[in-house]
């Protein structure tokens, strides 16, 4: 049952072959048994989860169930869940029990999905390895000496180890796609503005977007249908009619043009990842797609631009953590200024402080034009690269990350090396486009490889279609780590 798709779980629940409480017990048992080794969850609360599951069973009994009613889902700890610790992986929020639900949580709850727990993450989503969490690093279920990727590493690990059928994640520079790739699961970052960020702790507001993480593209389509939608409480939420993202899953791919950016296959890409991705492209060719060589000439600027804009926005967003209204407060201080300085020194971890300092500097008097404004101009060039590319192709394919998951600790003390692992993902956030990652093989050490797909704005249904068709003829997404059985 822990390998079942969401469609199978939905059928089993509605045919009363299993109850939501039974499903929840099954996944809670797995999560409790394996979490000691994997550290995928910050919070498990069996009593609360089982009470929600019992309520879902009553809805099913009353004939008021939606397609996903009764299915457990894990939420990244960046999402506020009423009554649950919502720490964002930080000491700063290590006592923050959310007084309200995030829009995404509210929508999934209305649909009848049941909260299975809160997943571990890089502190304030700043990281590519889930090693910066106040609650300790997450392990990769395929190789416990490797990182799971980040920042949604707990969600990716939980789905890969089959501790949860599905999970939520957020993606500011690759934080859904890169951990999905490293853990051998499927993850989607929607078009900027498609999923409301109300109740999702802000990191870099012009880039942040929430999305689903699951075993397959079809599962992602079900989840996105439930998550996406207009919310007046998020000023960037787009007013668009609701959509069924499963509607195009079965369409044939004949004649679809897939763009292969030459910059994504150049120096810096590991040979094992290249082999797996090229194998996937051959599959797409066999499915009737037509590969097209394209260029995204400003790719090399993406990391510099991202690491100006994201810290700048973070330094502004994280100014709210001052020890006054909620969260951590330093135990000792002489005056108000010291209360702020000590609270922030003790409440934030090293990477978060580093980014706040970078952001503060690039926004400070005399440096704004040279850094922030310059980066915003280059951002337009990066977005224009994609616009030109989509005149010649329908989808872009490439690697999600330049290597398979690296060893735990390998890049922990070297921020620049850590940042460079985001090379293929940050551009998608800068342009605001939808991107997804699906498993396409294994590389060195038996660690999974992810295939990244980028679509034009609002092309999620067609992307999920293309990912699903690939998964119909491959079985990478069905594999699970041996020692998590």
């Amino acid at each position: 049952m822990h390998n079942a798709t969401l469609a199978e779980l939905s059928q089993a629940l509605r045919a009363r072959r299993v109850s939501s409480v039974e499903l929840m017990r099954l996944f809670l048992e797995r999560a409790q048994r394996l979490n000691g080794a994997l550290n995928a969850f910050i919070t498990l609360d069996a009593e609360r989860s089982l009470a929600q599951a019992a309520a879902a069973d009553r809805r099913i009994a009353a004939g008021q169930a939606g397609a996903l009613t009764g299915i457990p889902i894990a939420h990244k700890d960046i999402f506020c869940c009423k009554g649950w610790l919502s720490s964002c992986g930080s000491r700063m929020l290590s006592n923050f029990v959310a007084p309200y639900d995030a829009h995404v949580v509210e929508r999934l709850h209305q649909e009848g999905l049941v909260t299975l727990g809160k997943t571990n993450m890089d502190e304030f989503a700043m990281g590519s390895s889930t090693e910066t969490s106040f609650y300790g690093p997450v392990r990769n279920p395929w190789d416990r000496g490797a990182v799971p990727g980040g920042s949604s590493g707990g969600s990716a690990c939980a789905v890969a180890a089959r501790l949860a059928p599905a999970a939520t994640g957020t993606d500011t520079g690759g934080s859904i796609r890169q951990p999905a790739a490293h853990c051998g699961i499927s993850g989607l970052k929607p078009t900027y503005g498609l999923v409301s960020r109300y109740g999702m702790v802000a990191f870099a507001s012009s880039l942040d977007q929430g999305g689903p993480m699951a075993k397959s593209a079809a599962d992602l389509a079900w989840l996105l249908t439930a998550m996406a939608g207009f919310d007046p409480r998020d000023s960037t939420s787009l007013e668009r009619p609701a959509q069924d993202y499963t509607r195009e899953l079965e369409a044939p791919l004949q004649g679809r043009r897939i763009g292969l950016p030459k910059e994504y296959f150049g120096a810096g890409l590991d040979a094992d990842v290249r082999r797996a991705v090229e194998g996937a492209i051959d599959r797409y060719r066999a499915l009737g797609c037509e590969p097209v060589d394209i260029s995204l000439p400003n790719t090399r600027l993406c990391i510099p631009v991202y690491y100006v804009l994201a810290p700048a926005e973070a330094s502004s967003n994280l100014a709210r953590y001052d020890g006054v209204r909620y969260g951590f407060r330093a135990p000792e201080y002489a005056d108000l200024d010291e209360l702020y300085r000590k609270t922030r020194a003790q409440g934030f971890g090293a990477e978060v402080k580093r980014r706040i300092l970078v952001g503060t500097y690039v926004l400070s008097h005399g440096y704004y034009d040279a850094y922030y404004l310059k980066a915003q101009k280059l951002r337009r060039l990066i977005a224009q690269d994609f616009a030109r590319a989509f005149e010649r192709c329908d989808l872009i394919l490439g690697p999600t990350a330049p290597s398979v998951a690296f060893d735990l600790g390998a890049k922990r003390d070297d921020p620049v090396q850590m940042y460079l692992s985001d090379i293929y993902t940050v551009s998608v956030n800068l342009a605001g486009l939808p991107g997804l990652s699906i498993p396409c093989g294994f590389g060195a050490g038996g660690r999974p490889v992810g295939l990244q797909m980028v679509g034009n704005y609002f092309q999620e249904a067609r992307m999920l279609n293309a990912a699903h068709q690939y998964q119909l003829v491959t079985d990478w997404h069905l594999r699970m780590p041996e020692d998590c059985r």
Binding site: Y100, Y307, Y326, Y340, K353, L357, Y361, L381, L430
Partner: protein, 95 residues
């Protein structure tokens, strides 16, 4: 031009983050590494390019000037570090 220890002290003061003596040297080295990475931007000519602040060209929505949120002061203050009589407490700032 690399940052100096005085630059880092100034930024930390602006960001309201206390840096211990021992942290300063490491922060300086790592920030300089990050700024060396960022420096690549400066080589590109961006004359005449409009800055892009957002992924979508959004117009800010307007709403009627009406109270829409329910009063949740009690819930919000229940999780505050220090409150009294409905007020958030901070160290005295005016003698």
């Amino acid at each position: 031009m690399p940052l100096t220890p005085a630059d880092v002290q100034r930024i930390a003061r602006l960001a309201r983050i206390e840096l211990a003596e021992g942290e300063l040297a490491q922060a300086l080295a790592q920030l300089n590494g990050i700024f060396a990475l960022i420096a690549e931007m400066q080589a590109v000519d961006t004359e005449g390019i409009e800055p892009m602040s957002h992924a979508q060209d959004l117009l800010l929505r307007l709403r009627p000037d009406r109270a829409a949120q329910a009063d949740q002061r009690a819930e919000f203050q229940a999780i505050a570090p220090a409150v009294e009589s409905g007020l958030y407490l901070v160290p005295k700032v005016i003698e």
